[in-house]
Amino acid sequence: MPSSRKKPDSLLESLSEKLSKSSDLEQRSLCTAEHQVKLIYLKSVCDSATLNRFILTPFFETESEQSYENYIASFPGTTSSEDIKEILDYILQGRVGIVFNSGKIYLFEAVRVEAGPVQDAQTEVIVQGPSDSFNESLEVNMNLIRRRYQSHDLKAETTTVGNKSKTSVAIMYDQTRIDPDVLAEVKRRLEGISIDILQASAELDKYLSANKFRLFPTTIVTERPDRAVFNISEGKIVLLVDTAGYAVILPAIFNDFFTAMDDKLQVLPVGWFLKTIRYIGLMMTVTLPAFYVAFTSFNTEVWKVQIALLVSGSRATVPYPSFMEVILMLLMMEFLTEASLRLPKAIGPTATTVGGLILGTAATEAGLVSNIMIILVSAVAISNFVIPLNMMGFTIRVLKYGFIFLGTIYGLLGVVLGMVGVVMYLTGLRSFGKPYFRMFSVDRAKVSSSSKGERTDG
């Protein structure tokens, strides 16, 4: 490494060479009668107002080069470096390189962050309780967490991920409650990530997991600061990704995905009821279509006579076997959900009306699908949305096709087989070394009663 000291011009030359063909590169010389400095920065990532106010104006007001250097060095964000690679990284991050005649280079922080204001949560809406959500700025996100968790035990370590994107990732945790093994494991895996670009938190989740092919999410991706704080208090780690707007919480257990943040706000029985509803919804959305196939085509005696005759009658005009009917209608439903997801807000309701109401009614009236089928598909779709976290919702959406397959080939036996299989798979799954299917994340014996009080205000 060539030392940059004593050779300001050669340093600047090599920097501008590396940053050549960048139209947003700015190189300036500031001169007065007494002293002279050179600036190098990328104007697209630097805030010009900061630049004018804290670099340009004071330069012409200070008398000597020494006093200006002292002035610059006194800023909290200013660093100095000799390594040309490091300097380059800093400039790319949005710092202004100020080269003095002595050959010393200061990197003044003038980064311009383009992030919207803190907005209401979009994907995890709750009825009552705080409604703010993470945004794209790491600083803001850390602020949102710190404000809710004012403890000196809350640590925030920062690393970067991504060879090109150099995205900073903050690891936040409560050092008194964390499992050090998990922390070490997370750090080890973060270091092991070798990708060019990291843009979304969910991506991090993908690269962090040990097993590439898995059915269930083993980390929670959330946009709610209150969920992040609650989980920190339960001894989990929160990863905040700069520019992403979502936090990753790990390790996660199955039950976490069925907890909405307003469960705790409810009266206890209501909270239990809501949670039970979600698990019933889970069972329904996964097994109903498979049971339909199994019961219409294999084990017709399971049904009550009334329903058997009803299904039989309404299926009389349906030209294809029951599993085709189910898969067709479910696919229609998936199209509907996907379409209304991507559509502009103004057209969304129209699509659902046309698709859901008209298509459903027309299909039954034409005798292409049975009446029962429409009820079933709607029940499946609605109960799928009961799951509060999207990642799990998507998994469940896919899972039910597996069950339909089993139901088609093995009947009732297949559905039972599938359930046993899923439970076996879940019990075998680990999230950062922690058993995934454990139903309660906190080891109640370990958490003292005093900390329980703290947890409720998170």
């Binding site: 029951s322 093995y410 036996l413």
Partner: protein, 367 residues
Amino acid sequence: MKKAACMILALILFLPLQGCRFKDIDLKLFVMAIGLDVSDDHPDKIKVTLKIAIPQGDPKKADEKVQILTQESDTIAEAVREMKSRVDKELDFGHCKAMIFGEKYAKTSLRDSLDWAMRRRDIQMMMYCAVGKPSAKEVLGVQPASERIPVNSLLLALSRDGTESPFIVPIFFYNLHRRFNETGLDPLLPVIEAKSEQEFEISTAYLFNKQKIVYLMNPEETRFYNLLTTKNLLTNFNVNYNGSRYAYNVEHSKASYKIKTPKDGEPYIEYKIKLVAELEENKTESIVSEQFLRDLGAAAEADLNQKIQKALEKVHKSGSDPYGWGLRYAATHWNNRTEFKEWADMSERLKFKVNSKVLVKYTGMIR
């Protein structure tokens, strides 16, 4: 890779376990009830009647459609196979909930039909069995106006899900089969009598020994049977008191019995019955007092004691044991080799004592 191969292998090995073949529900015909009769022309042939439900597409329409198939053959299995070639869809016995034996058929033997139903995997053991009068076919042909699903009225009556008549003895198939094979417990079957095209009546029951019909219980005896075997039977009884007739409705009922073998005397069975009742019908215009209710209860006790004792003696004399006294005796005595012989010996000398307690507690809604 190895794991995936193992999983696929496991799935293939599971294939034969599925039990049934993939066949859509609209390609099946649901047999709701089977009727078995002796053939009119050939006494050695069996006449099988199937009542098949035709599904309705529109649940709002009330009318039911039924297909009744009859086939005569040497065996039940053969008759069913022959019927298969007369229909367009697969016959499915999964929803068969009633098995009706024609009166003539029941008088010969039920064993072969029980054996057939027991062996078939798609016939559920929870179907109801009954004797059809005059024939099973005629009973199956009855279609009450209140019926919306084929055979449902029969099932509702037999299962006590619908009407809760004290004159109906519900007998499941598994129960009947057990009664045919258990020592000390004998079969009985309710009798369904077809009154017209739209009406049937179930109020009597046939008692069997292990081979054949031995006795027909009349409605009152059937009601006593139900009173002694079920708790809280919904019924009423009439009683004569002071020269006029009263009726009381049973709110709670409880019956238990003990087999007593005193060293110096005849063995006897003592029934203890406890009824809590309310006055339902009073033909006089007298004012009902507490003393009156007590006296009425006492009159009812005497009446019941005498009637039930008579009924029990009649049943015992017929040689059938639908109450399972023999089984109880065997179950409460230790010596496996001799206990049934002992029972058979003392059975001849068996006496009955009935000790009922009727508490007419309420006067109805009149206070």
